[in-house]
C-alpha cells in the first residue's frame, strides 16, 4: 500500500474537519441568520396563531405542506440512491454515498418539522404520537398523517443508522488522529472500533442488510406522503398514480440536490480528486432518466384528467394549464423537463456546471410541482361557490427560508465534524482497483472504481 498516497487521502478528506476556512464561516453565518429568521417567524406564528400565514378557506395547506413534501422528497437523494448503488455494486458510488446519506438525514429532519410547524396548535404535536397515557387516548391509525409519523420515523431511524455504520471506521480514524475533547467525542462515537477483520466483516454484512431494508422503506415513505393527498377525495388528488409519481419525483429532486451539494463540497473543500466529472456524469445520467420518468408520470396524470373530462377534475386542470396557476405550471415543466433533459442528454453539456444548472432547475421545478399539487386542488373545491386563491405571507416565506438555511447549516456542521467522503471506502475502492486479484472474490466490495 502506498503510504504517501494514503496520507494524502487522509489529509484531503479530513481537511474539512481539521481546517476552518472563511468560506465555511460565511456559509455558517448566513445560514445561521436564515435559520434565526425562520425560528423568529415560527415564534411569531406560535404566539399569534396560524393566521399570520396566507392560508384561508378553502386553501388550508400551502407552503407548509409544500415544504414538507419537498424536503421529504429531497431526503430520497441519499439513502435510497446509496442503497441502490450499494446493492447493485456500483463502484463509482464510493465518494458519493456519505454526501448523499447526510442529505437524507437532514432533509428528513427538516421535513419532519413541517407537520409540527403546520399545526394550528403546534404545542400539542405530541398528541400524534402513540404513547400510553392515563386518559387512554390514542391517535387514529386510519389517518394518513399517522402513517406519515410511522414512515418518517422508520426512515429517519434507518437512515441515521445507515449513515452511521459506514462512518464508524472513519470515526475511529478521527479518534486516532485527534486529541483533546475531539478525541473523546470521536472515541465515544466510534464505539470501540478497532478495524479487526471480524469487525470489517460484520460491518459489511450489516450495511448490506440495511441497504436491502431501507429501499422499500424509502419507497414507502414518499408513497405515504403522496397518500396524504391520494387518500383524500379531492379532484386531482384522488389518484392511484400518486405513489410512484411522488417516489419518482422524490428521487428526481433528491439527485438534483445531491449534485448541487457535491459541487459545493468539491469547490469549498477542494475535493477535485475525489468528486470527479465522472460522478457528475453518472448522476447526470440518472437525473436525465428521472426527468424522463417524471415527464412520463406528469403526462399520464394530466392526460387522464384531460381525457376523463370530469368537471371538478377539469376545473383544477384548467386552473393549472390556462388559469391563474399556468405561469407556475409552465415554469415547472421547463424546470423539470424542457431545460434539464436536453442539457443532460447532450454529452457536451453534461459537465459539472451543466449538471449543476440542470439540478438547480429541477429543485426549483420540483418545489413548484408540489405547490401545484396542493394549492390548485384546494382552491377549487367541488362546490364552486367556495373557490378561492392563495398568496403567501412573509411568515411563510421566512419559515421556508429558515428551512433551507437550517439544511445548509446542518450540512456545514456535519462536514466540520465528519469526513464527507468516506475515507475507508475510497481507499478500499483504490485498493480493489490496484489489486484486482483477490478483490474479484469479494461480493460486496466488487471493484469498479470510479476512475
Amino acid at each position: 500500500m502506498d503510504r504517501a498516497r494514503d496520507e494524502q487521502i487522509n489529509r484531503d478528506l479530513l481537511r474539512s474537519v481539521r481546517e476552518t476556512g472563511w468560506g465555511w464561516r460565511i456559509v455558517v453565518a448566513i445560514s445561521g441568520m436564515g435559520l434565526m429568521a425562520g425560528v423568529a417567524a415560527f415564534a411569531y406564528q406560535w404566539q399569534e396563531g396560524i393566521g399570520v400565514w396566507g392560508l384561508n378557506r378553502p386553501v388550508m395547506w400551502a407552503f407548509d405542506i409544500t415544504n414538507f413534501v419537498f424536503w421529504i422528497g429531497i431526503s430520497h437523494a441519499g439513502t435510497l440512491i446509496s442503497a441502490i448503488l450499494r446493492v447493485t455494486g456500483a463502484g463509482w458510488r464510493r465518494p458519493v454515498t456519505r454526501c448523499a446519506e447526510a442529505i437524507t438525514v437532514f432533509a428528513l429532519m427538516i421535513g419532519a418539522l413541517f407537520p409540527i410547524i403546520h399545526l394550528g396548535r403546534p404545542w400539542v404535536f405530541y398528541w400524534l404520537v402513540p404513547y400510553p397515557n392515563e386518559r387512554g387516548l390514542w391517535p387514529n391509525f386510519r389517518s394518513p398523517l399517522i402513517w406519515d409519523f410511522f414512515a418518517i420515523n422508520a426512515y429517519l431511524m434507518g437512515s441515521l443508522i445507515y449513515l452511521y455504520l459506514p462512518l464508524i471506521p472513519d470515526l475511529a480514524l478521527l479518534r486516532d488522529t485527534s486529541r483533546g475533547l475531539r478525541k473523546r467525542i470521536y472515541s465515544v462515537l466510534s464505539a470501540g472500533w478497532r478495524g479487526t477483520a471480524l469487525q470489517w466483516d460484520r460491518l459489511e454484512k450489516a450495511v448490506r442488510v440495511m441497504a436491502v431494508i431501507i429501499i422499500p422503506v424509502a419507497v414507502s415513505v414518499h408513497t405515504i406522503v403522496s397518500w396524504d393527498f391520494a387518500m383524500a377525495i379531492q379532484p386531482m388528488w384522488h389518484s392511484t398514480i400518486f405513489g410512484p409519481y411522488f417516489v419518482a419525483g422524490a428521487i428526481f429532486s433528491g439527485i438534483a440536490a445531491l449534485i448541487i451539494a457535491m459541487a459545493a463540497l468539491r469547490r469549498v473543500f477542494h475535493l477535485e480528486n475525489y468528486l470527479k466529472p465522472v460522478h457528475f456524469n453518472n448522476l447526470g445520467l440518472l437525473l436525465l432518466t428521472m426527468s424522463l420518468i417524471w415527464f412520463y408520470f406528469t403526462f399520464s396524470e394530466y392526460l387522464t384528467t384531460w381525457y376523463g373530462n370530469e368537471p371538478m377534475e377539469k376545473a383544477v386542470f384548467q386552473s393549472k394549464i390556462s388559469g391563474p396557476y399556468s405561469p407556475l405550471f409552465f415554469a415547472m415543466v421547463a424546470c423539470c423537463f424542457l431545460i434539464p433533459a436536453p442539457m443532460l442528454a447532450i454529452k457536451k453539456l453534461r459537465t459539472i456546471t451543466g449538471t449543476v444548472i440542470a439540478s438547480a432547475c429541477v429543485v426549483v421545478g420540483m418545489w413548484i410541482e408540489r405547490f401545484l399539487i396542493i394549492v390548485p386542488t384546494l382552491s377549487h373545491p367541488r362546490l364552486t361557490f367556495n373557490w378561492g386563491s392563495y398568496k403567501p405571507t412573509w411568515v411563510e416565506i421566512a419559515i421556508m427560508t429558515g428551512s433551507f438555511s437550517y439544511f445548509v447549516l446542518l450540512y456545514a456542521v456535519f462536514v466540520k465534524m465528519f469526513p464527507i467522503v468516506s475515507v475507508w471506502e475510497f481507499k478500499e475502492g483504490l485498493a480493489s482497483q490496484t489489486q484486482p486479484g483477490p478483490a474479484t472474490d469479494k461480493k460486496v466490495f466488487r471493484a469498479a472504481s470510479g476512475d
Binding site: R3, G192, A197, S220, P438
Partner: protein, 164 residues
C-alpha cells in the same frame, strides 16, 4: 499472558505473518488483524457464522407483531367510528405494520451487528494504535507464555514487521 503486535506496511507481509503464526500453533482466535480499510482477504472459514440476517428477520417479525397489537388494541380501546370504516381496519393498519416491521428489522440488525462485531465494549482496542490510522496493518497475537511470545516476535521479525 500478554499480547504481541507487529505492524506491516503491506498486506501480503501481514498475511504471511498470520499464516506463519498459525503454523506456530496459534489459533485463529489468538490472532487479530487490524487495518484502516477492509482488506481483500480470502473468506475465513474459521470465522463464526453471522446471524445478522436472521436477527433482522426476527426483528421485523417482532416489529410487525408489535404494530399489529398496537394498532388493533389502541383502536379497540378508542372504539370510535370514523368515516364508516371498521374499528380495526387492516388496509390502513397494514401500512403501519409494514413500517414497524422494517424498523424492527433495522434495529435488530444494528443490535446484532454491534454484538457480533464486539463494538461498544470497554477495555478492548488498546492495540489499535495510531499506526493503523497511518495505514499500517497490525497483527496482534495473544501469547499464553514467554515461549510463545518469543515465537511470535520471531515470526513478525521474519515477515518484516515493525514491533509495537
Amino acid at each position: 499472558m500478554h499480547t504481541k503486535a507487529g505492524a506491516f506496511d503491506k498486506v501480503n507481509e501481514a498475511t504471511m505473518a498470520m499464516n506463519r503464526l498459525r503454523m506456530e500453533g496459534f489459533t485463529p482466535k489468538d490472532i487479530t488483524m487490524m487495518s484502516s480499510e477492509p482488506l481483500p482477504l480470502d473468506e475465513d472459514d474459521e470465522k463464526s457464522r453471522s446471524l445478522i440476517w436472521l436477527f433482522s428477520i426476527l426483528g421485523g417479525i417482532l416489529g410487525g407483531v408489535g404494530a399489529t397489537l398496537l394498532t388493533t388494541l389502541a383502536s379497540k380501546q378508542m372504539n370510535l367510528v370514523t368515516g364508516g370504516m371498521p374499528i380495526v381496519a387492516p388496509w390502513a393498519f397494514g401500512i403501519i405494520v409494514f413500517e414497524m416491521s422494517a424498523l424492527g428489522a433495522i434495529l435488530a440488525a444494528l443490535g446484532r451487528m454491534v454484538y457480533e462485531a464486539r463494538l461498544l465494549r470497554r477495555g478492548v482496542g488498546a492495540e489499535y494504535g495510531s499506526v493503523v490510522a497511518q495505514g499500517k496493518i497490525v497483527v496482534a497475537v495473544d501469547c499464553a507464555d514467554e515461549t510463545r511470545a518469543q515465537n511470535a516476535e520471531r515470526v513478525f521479525a521474519s515477515c518484516g514487521a515493525e514491533m509495537i
